[in-house]
């Protein structure tokens, strides 16, 4: 009996050791990003690399920030991400509500058509979309970065599930109280679907913030660039100035990380299907 207690202890220690080693391996690049961003440029070429900066400096942040119109890039990205998120939330919740709660002709066909969109990968439609965007006169305009993302099949699907699971009595009671359909949607159904809305909003916002291929293809001028495209251009410009590159990587990533800290439970549960308890 005592022996089994001993081995249990050993197992626990090994368990935590294993987790810690894997954890350090996964998190190390972020540590290294921050350390590199605080090193003077000449220190980044030292062999072997210094795990802890000998001289710490914030100069890289200042230099990196001043080498490009980052404020504009942040503004562009924030604008595009917020606009795409809000519009797609509006369109998907309306559509999901109709698919879940309203009987109309052709509903099943339309819903299956919407779902079939998921079978068409974005890589396949990139070239024709380039043509469409140019034909619409949206090339190098923010429209091109917002409107194509103003609908979300994932959002429609998820919200439809939510709306369908709401008890019929709610709608009946609302009708007795004289509420219109739109009012029921706005004041009762939507607030109840808040978890789904948060999940969709995070997905949409992250999608816009981290997008790269689409804005690379659809925009050209510097004052229309999104943050990731700008960061890649900065890499091309700065070559091996790793400390400034690391500084720019840090300040372009931080908003995403902060956002993630606030919504991580919701986001992770959205992926895991709600089966995880933290």
């Amino acid at each position: 009996m005592r022996q089994s207690v001993f081995w249990n202890r050993v197992n626990r220690v090994l368990l935590y050791l294993g987790i810690a080693v894997l954890f350090i391996l996964v998190v190390f690049p972020f540590y290294w990003m921050i350390v590199t961003s605080l090193q003077p440029q000449d220190a980044v070429f030292s062999v072997p690399p210094q795990l802890w900066p000998k001289h710490m400096t914030f100069q890289n942040y200042i230099d990196a920030w001043n080498s490009a119109p980052w404020l504009r890039y942040f503004g562009n990205t924030l604008f595009v991400a917020v606009a795409a998120t809000l519009i797609s939330l509006a369109t998907s919740s309306l559509a999901a509500f109709a698919f879940a709660c309203i009987d109309f002709r052709g509903k099943e066909v339309l819903f299956n058509l919407v779902l079939s969109v998921m079978m068409i990968p974005a890589a396949t439609t990139l070239i024709p979309n380039f043509l469409i965007i140019r034909t619409l006169g949206w090339y190098d305009k923010f429209y091109a970065l917002i409107i194509p993302f103003a609908a979300s099949v994932f959002g429609i699907f998820l919200l439809r599930q939510y709306f369908m699971s709401m008890p019929k009595e709610l709608w009946e009671a609302a009708q007795i109280d004289g509420a219109s359909r739109l009012r029921y949607f706005r004041s009762i159904a939507l607030p109840l679907a808040k978890p789904a809305i948060v999940t969709i909003a995070i997905n949409s916002f992250l999608g816009s913030w981290t997008s790269f291929l689409w804005p690379t293809v659809m925009t050209q001028s510097q004052n229309k660039q999104l943050i990731e495209v700008a960061l890649n251009a900065f890499l091309g410009e700065k070559g091996q100035q790793w400390s400034q590159l690391a500084a720019a990587s840090v300040f372009t990533t931080i908003p995403i990380v902060i956002l993630f800290f606030f919504v991580q439970r919701q986001f992770i549960e959205g992926i895991g299907g709600g089966g995880i308890k933290g």
Partner: protein, 300 residues
């Protein structure tokens, strides 16, 4: 049941139809304009030799013939398969290991889980930059660590042989969190009574895992394999940032090849054919995986 159509009932039906179509219209319009319509246009474009600006010649199935006989296209498919076979099994094994460890009632699980998950939400460009520095053959951290451990060093991204393994390493690091979450969810749904029963029957931890846990979580395993394989074929950003498809063509996967042909070479007709090829490959993979899944998997 009242089968008579009263005026009030008829009015209601009309209102339902109007509301239904009105509410679904904005989404449907966007999906039609930027997914369905393009899917038809891409088929049309694939029949032309065009740079989208001036020149445009009908070539019938010429682009497809060119694609199917092109060493570059098949090379890109083989490299994508290499990437997939190199990354997916590792990703599954490592993420499952992490999920199993975290599932063992550890303290601070939320904290650990967040650490493993965070690379997945960080932008590919920003993290590729730090990995470029880590991979640097002369003063990068990876070679320094290998040297410290007495292991052979490598030229990583600058050598045709080691570039793809480096790409696999980076991508696995970036994407592993997603699989960890899926596996954690799957493991938490394995009934504890089953595990306890196996233990009472004297099965070792290892045996319990293989004969109880592994079959129970197989739907999630297949899901992870499908998602990761499909995303391998769509992979673009990390290739663009880390290697631009090089050195020579060593990391030109099909997703990147498609981009190069279209927006690099302005061969939009040919690239449209490649887009359709890519669609067919992804479609077949999905069907194939589903079929395999249908036979061997335990659906709880």
């Amino acid at each position: 049941m009242d089968n008579k159509v009263t005026p009030a009932r008829r009015k209601q039906v009309i209102r339902d139809n109007v509301a239904g179509w009105l509410f679904t219209f904005p989404s449907t319009l966007v999906l039609f304009a930027f997914t369905f319509l393009p899917a038809f246009i891409v088929v049309g474009l694939s029949l032309f030799d065009t740079n989208l600006v001036g020149q445009s010649d009908f070539v019938g199935l010429g682009n497809f013939r060119q694609m199917l006989t092109s060493g570059d296209f098949w090379g890109s498919v083989l490299r994508t398969l290499y990437f997939t076979l190199g990354s997916v099994p590792v990703a599954v094994a490592v993420s499952l290991l992490i999920a199993v460890l975290l599932n063992a009632k550890v303290r601070g699980r939320t904290f650990w889980r967040m650490g493993f998950f965070i690379p997945y939400i960080t932008p590919l460009v920003a993290t590729s930059i730090i990995w470029l520095y880590i991979f640097n053959p002369d003063y990068g951290m990876l070679n320094a660590a290998l040297h410290f451990l007495g292991l052979p060093v490598s030229r990583w991204l600058t050598d045709t042989v080691s570039a793809m393994p480096a790409m696999i390493l980076y991508s696995t690091w970036h994407d592993i969190g997603f699989a960890v979450i899926i596996f954690m969810a799957a493991l938490s749904k394995v009934p504890t009574e089953l595990l306890e029963a196996a233990q009472i029957d004297g099965a070792s931890g290892w045996k319990t895992f293989w004969h109880v846990t592994w079959p129970m979580i197989s739907p999630s395993t297949y899901f992870v394999v499908i998602i990761y394989t499909i995303s391998a074929f769509k992979m673009f950003t990390q290739v663009a940032v880390l290697t631009q498809g090089g050195p020579v063509d060593a990391t030109t996967t099909t997703g990147y090849y498609l981009y190069q042909q279209a927006f690099g070479q302005m061969h939009f007709g040919y690239a449209s054919a490649v887009s359709i090829g890519l669609f067919v490959i992804i479609f077949l993979l999905t069907v194939l995986q589903r079929r395999v899944t249908g036979r061997k998997v335990f659906y709880g």
